[in-house]
């Protein structure tokens, strides 16, 4: 048995030295190292030997197995190395890959996605609603009295006296509050319309995200804290901000939030980023929620201006002109 082992070792060495191509290597593997190869056969023989012999042979047989296996592996590695060098010389690896293009979402959609994700993380649901709305949902229910100058704040496309293109996504808030009981915590992204001449600075439509939270213990301090958390996630934790009092018919107190905007090499300035406030009790009454028991906050922001500033887009029409040279940049 011992002799057989040392012979095997010799004949393995000899065979390995003669290997010249993948076929002869495979032959060698089959002969010595495969399941039915010589080495395994020796192990089969080993099972039949006596206890004393086993003591004697066990070690050297294991050594043989380790030896042949490692020699074989070494050889393969050497061979692969040679092969790679040879092959590389014959293929032009700098040729472009066979690629498929990945399309992209519109930059406004991408911005909306970012904003939606942040608010989802803060426990907000996402609701949508129609773009052709009733005057009631868009204005009356939101505490815009008829014949009040507040209506001039939003240039409106009317279909007739009672129907219009929504000027904000706030009607979704009305629909939601009529349908659900508090707590209501949701954002409403969507397209809105303003009757303005199309120019580099304004377009007849844009996108908005509004938010609403109604519960028994909602406070202005929480509104501030939540919005600060949002802008820090969106613009980075270093962002400078301020809240100043403002007016919206559907909130009271009302505020606008500005951020300090300073593009590289330019003078910085305060820039309005969103409007917010505590839901006016009249709005709650209009949707059948008791304003004494429940308090709400609401906020809303336009997406286009923020997006344009973030990416340095100077003409809003680019967003809606569908130029592939523009779309491919995002």
């Amino acid at each position: 048995m011992v002799e057989k082992i040392s012979e095997t070792r010799k004949s393995f060495d000899e065979a390995l030295s003669k290997v010249t191509n993948p076929q002869s290597l495979e032959e060698l593997r089959l002969k010595f190292l495969s399941k039915k190869g010589i080495v395994n056969q020796l192990f089969e023989d080993f099972k039949l030997t006596s206890k004393e012999e086993k003591k004697l042979i066990g070690q050297i047989l294991n050594d043989l197995k380790t030896y042949t296996q490692s020699k074989f592996n070494e050889f393969i590695q050497k061979l692969e190395k040679e092969y790679t060098v040879k092959k590389a010389a014959s293929i032009d690896l700098t040729l472009p890959g066979k690629q498929k293009e990945i399309g992209s979402k519109h930059i406004i959609t991408q911005t909306l996605d970012e904003i939606k994700n942040i608010f989802k993380g803060l426990g907000f649901s996402i609701y949508e609603g129609p773009e052709l709305e009733s005057d009631y949902n868009n204005f009356e229910a939101l505490n815009f009295p008829t014949d009040h100058p507040a209506r001039d704040m939003q240039d409106t496309f009317f279909i007739n006296q009672n129907f219009l293109l929504r000027t904000h996504t706030s009607p979704v808030q009305i629909r939601l509050m009529k349908e659900k009981k508090p707590p209501i915590r949701a954002i409403m992204p969507g397209k809105v319309f303003r009757n303005e001449a199309v120019s580099a600075k304004s377009y007849c439509l844009f996108h908005q995200v509004e938010g609403l939270y109604v519960d028994t213990d909602v406070t202005f301090a929480e509104l501030k804290g939540t919005l600060v958390a949002f802008i820090k996630q969106y613009f980075g934790s270093e962002i400078k901000y301020r809240f100043r009092a403002s007016f919206f018919p559907f909130t009271e107190p009302s505020a606008e939030m500005d951020i300090w905007w300073q593009p590289k090499g330019k003078e910085g300035r305060w820039m309005e980023i969103l409007g917010c406030g505590m839901v006016d009790p009249n709005v709650l009454i209009n949707v059948g929620i008791d304003p004494e028991k429940y308090v709400g906050y609401a906020f809303g922001m336009g997406i286009e201006r923020t997006t344009m500033r973030k990416y340095g887009i100077d003409d809003i029409r680019l967003l809606f002109d569908s130029d592939i040279r523009f779309l491919k940049q995002f």
């Binding site: 496309f157 949701a186 007849c204 009092a245 403002s246 779309l327």
Partner: protein, 800 residues
């Protein structure tokens, strides 16, 4: 609105507060300062200069060559004005200064060969007046070298303040001063009125009758006799000019001054032009014509409130006076009107007439009904100051129903509940008192308040809470550092479309957002459009009935810039009338969400490993299939072909349970041509609302196959018109349930096959989930399939 800081400090002491702090604090309180103009900045690098010498320009008859001294150096200056003369003190703009009238920066230049280092300015160039004929000659007592701003007294700072529509009370200098007083916790200084009134009474010289007391609750008149219509004194002109108003004459200027001081619009009538010396406040006659001060004829309706005399209309109430009662240089006796009108009445008329004046702007927001008499006296006092005259005793005060001031209660607990922060009670009281609220009673829990007559925006507790919070300062209310999560059901209604968008991206499509507004011709071509009442232009007068026009326009625009290979999609709303009638409810129109996919040009443009592949019907079909399969793997959709569609040829519909959820195909050339496109476009529209309605079956895991598959290939020669789908159908029917998949992998046509013949090659996949198949049972199945195809289509087996 322009606010002069110099004017403002007449009413509130702000000496110890920096301009920046004033600006910040009133901005925080809701009166946003949008622009700050420091007057002296206008005159940077400009000084009082002395003309030492004037010579004729050697090369130009109309020019002079001057030597100007600024006290330190002499400058040679070319001047074109005729009135320049030696020893004059003049406004000298040095090199580097910016001329206010045109924003031009002065540089050292040569004019007709002579060097000019600076400029002698005219009144016009300094924006001090209209005179640009000659240079401005300054007071000879001025010291040479004095900064021009000091010499002109341009020491004011002008704030452009944006006033939100609720703040009717802040549309004046005193209004702004009141907020500042509250912010800095100090008292407002109201101007004192001391006038010498004659023994004659106003009410004996004019009478006021209010016929419509709903729209005119109060009308105060005051008479001043023997006024002289003059140019206003300098102090008054300077104040008006500082906020961008043009001085006209003392009477008009005084009414403007009072308006910007206290916010009460006034009107001065020539009393002698008022028939019967009488004022009647009533509505206009239907279709009445009236000439306003701006020399325009206006047509009125019976709801427009008018000021009339004994026989005719003399003013559109609260908006503009008439030519027929205007104060002119011959006017001797005047009636000052100081009224309170119903805001919505004024707004309706002003809006309908498209006429917004300083007066209507304030009346439609709500003026102070308690300040009317004071304002009339204030105007009388100032008119007398500027031109003498006899102020008659007292006012005519037509005030049929005295307006009671509103009252409300503020609970401290509610303040705390809404703000989430407790403001000290004494601070709350100070803020409210400084804003003009009167505290009737108070205890530990609440205070009861009288709301001042100038705050039409305040009536409820929440309004008071806002006042306290904005004056206290939002920045002092700490942001919470943690929020609790409410555990109601969370919903994401945008998730469905987000998924579609992701799938479209992975299929190499770019998303578009196109305009929802179209012109009439285009929108009508694609459906029954909804028309807008007040469009911006005829190009955007209707709502889109389809996404296709926007898409075709986008493709057209891209082709124009030589981008011809396009893969676009858009998800958006389309709108359509259901009946041909006016929209009265949500049932009268349909708003649907649509996904539109379009491809055009090359799907693959030749690569080193691949030839060009043009976008075609099958490119579109493959993408639609991949999209539906990826987003709805467990739902079966059917496609039906060659339907008759208005926009598509080679058309198909996407069906689910016999319901059409979309259609597409090759866009008809006649449609593409509408957008100047001549290359082939393939598009598909899918109704997302219908897609959402399809119930998603449960998705269950299926055991992985444990036994080997067997694969058989075969090819038939068939008549060209035989559809591949039909062949597959026959193979399926002829086979046992061991056959699981059939794939068409080759189509071939050639003369060798014969005329009108084609070869279709299929790969058939057999397996059983419970055992390994035997060769001969698959062969048997396979032969059955071959036989059936041969029989059904008279096909010839070409190879297996």
């Amino acid at each position: 609105m322009k606010i002069s800081l110099q004017w403002l400090i007449d009413y509130v002491d702000l000496k110890d507060i920096s301009i920046n702090e004033i600006i910040d604090k009133i901005t925080f309180a809701g009166l946003e300062v949008e622009e700050v103009v420091v007057q002296s900045d206008k005159y940077n690098n400009m000084v009082v200069g002395l003309v030492k010498e004037v010579k004729k320009h050697p090369n130009a008859d109309k020019l002079s060559l001057c030597v100007v001294s600024d006290g330190e150096s002499d400058y040679s200056v070319v001047c074109g004005a005729q009135n320049v003369a030696q020893d004059q003190k003049i406004a000298f703009a040095k090199v580097g200064s910016i001329i206010p009238s045109n924003g031009m920066k002065l540089e050292k230049v040569k004019i007709r060969g002579e060097v000019s280092t600076g400029m002698i300015c005219s009144e016009f160039e300094l924006e001090l007046g209209d005179n640009h004929e000659g240079i401005l000659v300054l007071d000879e007592k001025l010291k040479i070298g004095t900064p021009l701003a000091d010499a002109l007294g341009a020491d004011d700072v002008i704030l452009e303040v944006a006033i939100t529509p609720n703040r009717c009370d802040a549309l004046s200098h005193i209004g702004i001063a009141r907020d500042l007083a509250a912010i800095f916790n100090r008292k407002i200084k109201f101007p004192e009125i001391q006038i010498n009134e004659s023994k004659k009474k106003s009410e004996d010289f004019a009478k006021v009758f209010i016929e419509d007391s709903v729209n005119c609750p109060r009308y105060v008149g005051k008479v001043v006799l023997d006024v002289k219509i003059l140019e206003s004194p300098d102090w008054l002109k300077k104040k008006l000019k500082s906020i961008g108003l043009r001085p006209i004459n003392n009477v008009v200027d005084v009414t403007n001054f009072v308006l910007h001081e206290i916010g009460q619009p006034l009107h001065a009538f020539d009393l002698d032009k008022l028939h019967d010396n009488k004022i009647v406040v009533k509505c206009a006659n239907e279709s009445e014509k009236f000439s306003t001060l701006d020399s325009k004829d206006r047509e009125l309706t019976s709801t427009d409130l008018m000021i009339c005399d004994g026989e005719k209309s003399v003013a559109i109430a609260g908006i503009m006076g008439g030519e027929n009662s205007e104060v002119t240089f011959t006017t001797k006796n005047i009636l000052i009107e100081s009224a309170f009108f119903n805001p919505s009445s004024i707004r309706r008329t002003a809006k309908r007439l498209g006429l917004s004046t300083d007066a209507s702007y304030r009346f439609e927001r709500g003026t102070d009904y308690d300040i009317t008499a004071w304002a009339a006296r204030r105007a009388a006092q100032l008119i007398q100051m500027t031109s003498g005259g006899e102020i008659l005793y007292g006012e005519i005060d037509a005030y049929p129903n005295k307006i009671e001031k509103r009252k409300t209660i503020l609970r401290f607990s509610r303040l705390m509940k809404v703000l989430g922060y407790s403001i000290p009670e004494s601070t709350v009281e100070n803020i409210l008192t400084n804003l003009g609220f009167e505290i009737i009673s108070k205890n530990n829990e609440q205070i009861e308040l009288v709301i001042p007559s100038f705050r039409h925006d305040i009536e409820r507790e929440i309004d008071i809470i806002e006042e306290v919070a904005r004056i206290y300062g939002f920045e002092k209310i700490p942001n919470v550092q943690k929020i609790s999560v409410t555990l109601e059901e969370k919903v994401d209604q945008s998730y469905f479309c987000d998924n579609l968008k992701n799938a479209m991206n992975s299929l190499s499509f770019y998303e578009l957002v196109t305009n929802s507004l179209l012109n009439e011709t285009i929108s009508e071509k694609f459906g029954k459009p909804i028309k807008m009442l007040n469009p911006q232009s005829s190009e955007m007068s209707h709502l889109r009935t389809s996404l296709l026009p926007g898409m075709l326009q986008a493709i057209s625009n891209n082709i124009k810039v030589n981008e011809k290979n396009l893969r676009f999609f858009e998800i958006g709303k389309v709108f359509e009338l259901i009946h041909e009638k006016e929209i009265e409810s949500f049932e009268d129109f349909k708003e649907s969400e649509i996904l539109l996919i379009a491809i055009t040009g090359y799907e693959i443009q030749s690569e080193w490993y691949e030839k060009d592949i043009a976008s075609d019907f099958f490119g579109l079909k493959g993408n639609v299939y991949a999209l539906l399969n990826k987003s709805f793997p467990s739902i079966k959709f059917e496609l039906t072909y060659n339907i008759n569609h208005v926009n598509y040829e080679e058309a198909f519909t996407i069906m689910h349970n016999n319901k059409i959820i979309g259609y597409g195909g090759k866009v008809k050339m006649s449609v593409a041509n509408l957008f100047d496109v001549s290359q082939e476009i393939f598009a598909c529209e899918i109704n997302i609302d219908e897609l959402k309605k399809i119930e998603q079956p449960d998705r269950k895991f299926k055991d992985l196959l444990k036994f080997p598959k067997m694969v058989r290939d075969l090819a038939f020669v068939l008549d060209t018109e035989v559809e591949s789908d039909k062949v597959i159908e026959v193979i399926k029917t002829a086979s046992s349930n061991l056959l699981h998949q059939i794939k068409l992998f080759d189509i071939f046509q050639s003369d060798s096959l014969g005329k009108d013949k084609k070869s279709l090659a299929f790969q058939l996949e057999y397996f059983d989930e419970t055992r390994t198949l035997k060769e001969d049972e698959v062969d048997k199945d396979f032969r059955n399939a071959i036989k059936e195809v041969e029989k059904t289509f008279k096909a010839q087996l070409r190879g297996i």
